[in-house]
């Protein structure tokens, strides 16, 4: 390319980048072009069990519930705290809606009033069991105690209609409880120790993982709560929203701290090595150009981009900084004792640089196969972006290089010499002893490698909130079970009878549960209950008369035995009050009942006990996500292997089998040794470690490519390739390796794998290829 043509192309490229930059600017201003909801990163649930789990989570609004307790030794002060919070809530833009407990209570009263006419077929679980087992005397004793003791629910109003108190016990046992009472204004209150707590229950009417919502929580809600706390009222809170907000705050803190250290470190090293800001400016220009192209492609292709895909994709593309480093290192090359022409620098980096770009782009491109929408966007951004960075380095690079004679800094030369000395021990690597030792290490490490796919392990729940949650749970009964049995059927009656069959098995195994059949039994069970109750009532009516001391006269009519059975309709089941509504999902073609389990028994035991067919499934949301993560980890591992095969094939096609082996050997060894080291250290290998190793493969192969195609005619010390690799490794460690310090397990796993992998890769590549005569191959 002639010099003039280079100027034209560089200018044209700049124009293209600026035009795309304008397009990006215009696009991101549109509503919804940047996604903030973290759940959008997860794949859609195709699996049946996952769908059941997701439907339940959304219908029961599990993640959207929040509870805040305001406590003080003076009840009035605690109540004022709650009132102050309510008042502030109306002025906030935080999408929180208070749960209307009085309305729910009213709905229950109306429901029980309606069901009273059908009381003959309704019985509490315990009463029904006693009747089925024929334990009449036990039941009679309980009935008498209910009439005579002050704790009973019996009133004179029941004498004719429900003398045995069956309906009252059915209502009492069916009702969901939270262990709280209410004050004269309908506020929920609990007392514990010296303090009275006023309870606020609410729902978040937006996506709790939306970064915008979390921002509002941290900026609006938290100061209000802090203000109330400053007045002496203690506040406890629980809810997915608070964990998400605390997580977002922690992530921001980490990004700021780690990002700051990383940036300062990189700038300092570059200044020390290159004595000026030019390499930094080149790196910024190159990375920015790639980012603009990648972002434009995502916005054009997907219509939007997730904020994390943007951040993480840009980081992946940050490998382009390495190209700038190598470009600058190559600029110190000398020909006939003169600095190389700045427009010729790119030639000295051929074919290593384009091959490096190509291998990394293929690697990132393969991430498209991951079924995470976020990772796919990230892959497009990083793959396309990286290809463009190569164009930018090639076209713009010369304009960042100083004209005239260039001398490398003394520190750069000293570092290169030190690395040269280190590389001189390289031949050891060729010895059989090293080979055997490496083999033993890898075999030992990989055989002891454990996998950790537990989704709970990837979360870093704020410990302070966890303590508050435990305190709240000790005061209020929560429905905090996540496992349930999903029952499917073609019609309502079959759905209820199948649910009752599941409930019976759970009763026999002594497992606590909640099911819609506690409230609405099947017609067949109503018939059985009606018959059993009628016989019992007739047999024991005398006992009631004896206790009350008056003749009442047994009447089937007044006790409701002549009334019809209750036949629930779809509409009735869909409009049950909160507490039961989430236990059933009835739509045109889908009838599902959910039996919520409250047990610590293992999923395996429950699976065996309940049995499994397509209509009765044990759903363990945590387990489902864990197996999802396991399959993605496997996918990532396969992807890493595929990447090695692609690299190998590409290099074999270009330069033959020997070259492919020599270039890929260090990076494959370092990835295997990283996994082995994690195994020996007892670190549970997760999807995030696998992702880190893919990054090591993509970045690490470049070190070998640059060393392999170095100019053998150049005198030792004149070419700064080892320095270039060293600086590239340090910048990668500063950018990604420092993430291992993160408190979030997923992030630190990724960082740890990158840290170990890059360090090993730099050392092994230097030792293998630092001194080797590549023409041998």
């Amino acid at each position: 390319m002639t010099r003039n043509l280079q100027h034209v192309f560089a200018a044209l490229w700049l124009a293209v980048i600026m035009a795309l930059g304008l397009y990006c600017l215009q696009s991101v201003q549109k509503e919804g072009s940047i996604q903030f909801d973290i759940m959008a990163l997860l794949p859609e649930a195709n699996d049946h069990n996952m769908r059941f789990a997701n439907d339940f989570m959304s219908e029961a609004k599990v993640a959207h519930r929040i509870v805040i307790l305001f406590g003080d030794s003076e009840a009035e002060k605690a109540r004022k705290g709650l009132e102050q919070f309510r008042g502030s809530l109306t002025m906030m833009t935080v999408p929180i809606q208070e749960k209307n407990t009085q309305e729910i209570e009213k709905s229950y009263r109306a429901l029980y009033k309606h069901l009273f006419d059908y009381r003959a077929g309704l019985a509490s679980r315990d009463d029904f069991t006693l009747l089925q087992q024929g334990k009449q005397q036990t039941l009679v004793d309980q009935v008498i105690a209910n009439i005579t003791s002050p704790f009973g629910t019996f009133t004179s109003g029941q004498i004719q209609t429900d003398p045995f108190g069956f309906f009252a016990r059915y209502v009492t046992n069916a009702k969901t409880m939270n262990g709280a009472s209410v004050d004269d204004q309908g506020n929920i209150i609990v007392t514990a120790g010296e303090k009275t707590w006023y309870v606020f229950q609410g729902y978040v009417e937006d996506k709790i993982f939306s970064l915008k919502v979390q921002e509002k929580i941290n900026e609006e809600l938290q100061p209000v709560l802090q203000n109330i706390q400053n007045s002496g009222v203690e506040i406890l809170k629980v809810g997915g929203l608070f964990y998400a907000a605390a997580g977002a705050e922690q992530a921001n803190r980490e990004i700021s701290n780690i990002g700051l250290i990383s940036t300062l470190g990189i700038v300092l090293i570059m200044l020390l090595m290159f004595r000026g800001p030019r390499p930094i400016l080149l790196a910024i220009s190159v990375v920015t150009s790639g980012l603009i192209v990648g972002l434009a492609a995502c916005l054009y292709g997907y219509g939007s981009i997730h904020i994390l895909s943007l951040v993480f994709g840009s980081s992946l593309m940050g490998v382009a900084v390495d190209y700038g480093i190598h470009y600058f290192c190559a600029s110190y090359k000398r020909v006939n004792n003169q600095s190389i022409d700045r427009f010729e620098i790119i030639r000295t980096l051929l074919p290593a640089l384009p091959l490096g770009v190509l291998t990394s782009s293929i690697g990132y491109g393969l991430l498209m196969l991951a079924p995470f929408p976020g990772i796919q966007q990230m892959a497009v951004l990083a793959c396309l972006g990286l290809l463009c960075t190569f164009v930018s380095v090639s076209l713009w690079g010369p304009y960042f290089i100083q004209t005239g004679d260039r001398q490398a800094s003394s520190m750069a030369i000293k570092t290169q010499n030190a690395l040269n000395r280190f590389a001189s021990i390289g031949p050891i690597m060729k010895s059989k002893t090293f080979g055997v030792a490496a083999f033993v290490f890898i075999a030992l490490g990989l055989s002891s490698l454990n996998f950790n796919d537990n989704v709970r392990g990837f979360q870093s729940l704020n410990p302070e909130l966890k303590v508050q949650e435990e305190r709240i749970k000790s005061m209020l009964s929560f429905d905090n079970s996540s496992r349930f049995v999903a029952v499917q059927a073609a019609d309502i009656e079959s759905l209820l009878t199948t649910t009752e069959a599941v409930a019976q098995r759970l009763d026999q195994a002594g497992i606590e549960y909640r099911a819609v059949t506690d409230l609405i039994p099947s017609v067949s069970q109503q018939k059985e209950a009606r018959a059993l109750k009628a016989r019992f009532s007739q047999d024991n009516f005398q006992a009631i008369e004896q206790v009350l001391g008056i003749p009442i006269g047994f009447s089937k009519v007044s006790m409701g035995f002549e009334n019809e059975n209750f036949i629930p309709t779809e509409n009735f089941l869909n409009t049950l009050p909160e507490g039961f509504r989430e236990l059933i999902s009835v739509h045109d073609k889908s009838l599902i009942s959910r039996v919520l389990l409250n047990t610590t028994q293992s999923t395996g035991y429950l699976q065996t006990m309940i049995g499994q067919d397509e209509n009765v499934r044990l759903i363990d949301p945590v387990g489902e996500y864990t197996s999802l993560f396991a399959s993605y980890r496997e996918l990532m591992m396969i992807l890493a292997m595929a990447l090695v095969v692609v690299f190998f094939l590409l290099l074999t096609l270009r330069n033959g089998l020997g070259t492919a082996f020599v270039i890929t050997r260090p990076v494959v060894l370092s990835v295997l040794m990283t996994a082995s080291l994690l195994g020996i250290l007892g670190v549970g290998f997760s999807m995030f470690h696998a992702m880190g190793l893919i990054l090591v493969l993509c970045i690490g192969i470049d070190y070998a490519l640059f060393l392999f195609w170095r100019d053998l005619k150049t005198e030792e010390g004149e070419e700064l390739l080892l320095l270039g690799n060293g600086l590239a490794a340090i910048t990668t460690i500063l950018s990604f390796g420092l993430l291992s310090l993160s408190a979030t397990s997923a992030v630190s796993s990724f960082g740890l794998a990158v840290f170990i992998g890059i360090v090993l890769n730099f050392l092994i590549t230097t030792l293998f290829l630092g001194k080797i005569e590549c023409k041998d191959y």
Binding site: A75, D141, T148, T155, S156, S181, A192, G193
Partner: protein, 196 residues
């Protein structure tokens, strides 16, 4: 549920220490146990004669209550943090389950009743009483509670001697508490009943 809960909570609580409102009222020490006898007259509308039952009650501070009816229909009811149970001499059969922690929350409040203090949801009114006795009227404010409790009147000296529970439909319980005895710690037979 509310009905049962308030019945239990208030009665259990009231047996103990509402008399803290007066200088003469005794405070049940921590981990101690109070035994007493009761005579209950239950008046139900439409039933001409009251249902009279007699028996013993045992209150273990912070643990629960055993309501042991001896006549005319023997039965033993146990109230713990886990709910209301019936004891048949060998096993505890659940009557009301569900770990209703609120029983003890309200009990705690009753324990701490003192001049100037309030019980959320109830208005406390002093009622004229005979010499050396005190009397309090507890009136619920919330409609959920007023549906089945009109008011509770507690009378006592050193210990509570009488509780009257007035229902909105005219039903009422009149409970006399006699022969109070304080044990420094929970006895082993009570431990068996109160263990959850």
């Amino acid at each position: 549920m509310k009905k049962w809960f308030f019945n239990v909570a208030f009665l259990v609580g009231l047996f103990t220490n509402v008399q803290a409102n007066t200088p003469e009222a005794a405070v049940l020490p921590a981990h101690s146990m109070m035994k007493a006898q009761f005579v209950q007259n239950r008046y139900l509308s439409g039933v001409p004669m009251p249902i009279i039952s007699k028996g013993n009650l045992t209150l273990a501070e912070g643990r629960g209550l055993v309501w042991d009816t001896l006549t005319p229909f023997p039965s033993t009811l146990i109230i713990t943090k886990k709910g209301l149970f019936q004891w048949d001499g060998q096993t505890k059969a659940p009557v009301i389950k569900g770990g209703d922690k609120a029983i003890f929350e309200v009990m705690g409040q009753i324990f701490n009743v003192a001049p100037g203090k309030t019980i959320p949801g109830f208005t406390l009114e002093k009622v004229p009483a005979k010499k050396k006795f005190w009397s309090l009227r507890l009136v619920p404010g919330h409609p959920q509670v007023t549906n089945f409790i009109k008011c509770i009147i507690i009378t006592g000296g050193k210990y509570i001697t009488h509780i009257s529970i007035q229902r909105p439909n005219g039903d009422h319980d009149e409970i006399d508490i006699l022969s109070h005895k304080i044990e420094p710690k929970v006895t082993s037979d009570m431990e068996v009943l109160l263990n959850d």
